[in-house]
Symmetry: C2
DNA sequence: ATTAACTTAGATTTTTATTATCCGCGTTTA
DNA sequence: TAAACGCGGATAATAAAAATCTAAGTTAAT
């Protein structure tokens, strides 16, 4: 059980946008992280659709945050990037669990996932903007 | 982000063992759930190695619980079946995150996963043994 | 003692999901 | 009007998960 690399890309891209007050293009973001540009483009699209970043099209376009980094929690990012999550198999429709609504396994896993998100709410993009690096210089 | 089907198989098998006080073979367990026998065999092996069930070999062998179902939490099962979990990609070594120990992302995700497990500790195999079915009859 | 039903463990294959790439289009700036 | 960008769909490559296969060792009954 792990998060997709998309969540990783998203978090690090948001961090870059937070550091750089300016707009950044996918190209810049990808180069900065040394990752696939076209894949990152998808990630940025998702963030854009979720209104966590704003895009400007055309030449010299790019992305910028729609709100200050302290207002973007990891929970929010995870929810956007991981999409509809089925922490327990039973939660999606592969096994046709007939008592889904009353299923206690379902209930327990759903709750536990909520607790996870709740914990992630405590940390914002600003919080993780490595202040330790500054200290070390 | 979701748990593997192995966790699903494990939980349901433990439930079956809890209901059936007797030993059950992989064959019986698989038929009962209508799933792959040889794959379930792997799952049961893991549970056996983790000492959550006990196996007896040879003809008329099978598995039984090593402790009462109220003492087996979903947290325990998840930990066994999902193995070393990387809720955040950064936690494993794909990206060579140099500051792992001090990384705040790492820290946040680790914590959130702990919260998830803690919540799952509250529910035991006994708890999910569908008492609602009994009520409805 | 031999057979049948079982667990164990490794190796291999199949299937599915994730990650990455590609392409054509619409938009903006120089 | 060309260059640099975002958008979104389609497709390909890769990796991981799930399933299957095989051979061995164990026990109980015949």
């Amino acid at each position: 059980m792990k998060t997709s690399i998309k969540t990783d890309y998203a978090i690090h891209s948001l961090m870059l946008l937070a550091k750089n007050n300016n707009e950044m293009s996918v190209n810049e973001l990808a180069k900065n992280q040394d990752i696939s540009k076209s894949y990152l483009a998808k990630v940025m699209q998702k963030l854009s659709n979720a209104n966590i970043v704003q895009s400007t099209e055309g030449k010299s376009g790019g992305y910028k945050l729609t709100k200050p980094p302290e207002e973007i929690s990891l929970s929010e990012v995870v929810k956007i990037m991981e999409g509809k999550i089925n922490v327990f198999e039973c939660l999606d429709d592969k096994r046709n669990c007939k008592i889904k609504k009353r299923c206690k396994i379902h209930f327990a896993f759903k709750n536990s996932y909520q607790k996870m998100l709740k914990e992630l709410e405590k940390t914002s993009i600003k919080d993780i903007l490595d202040p330790e690096l500054k200290k070390e210089r």
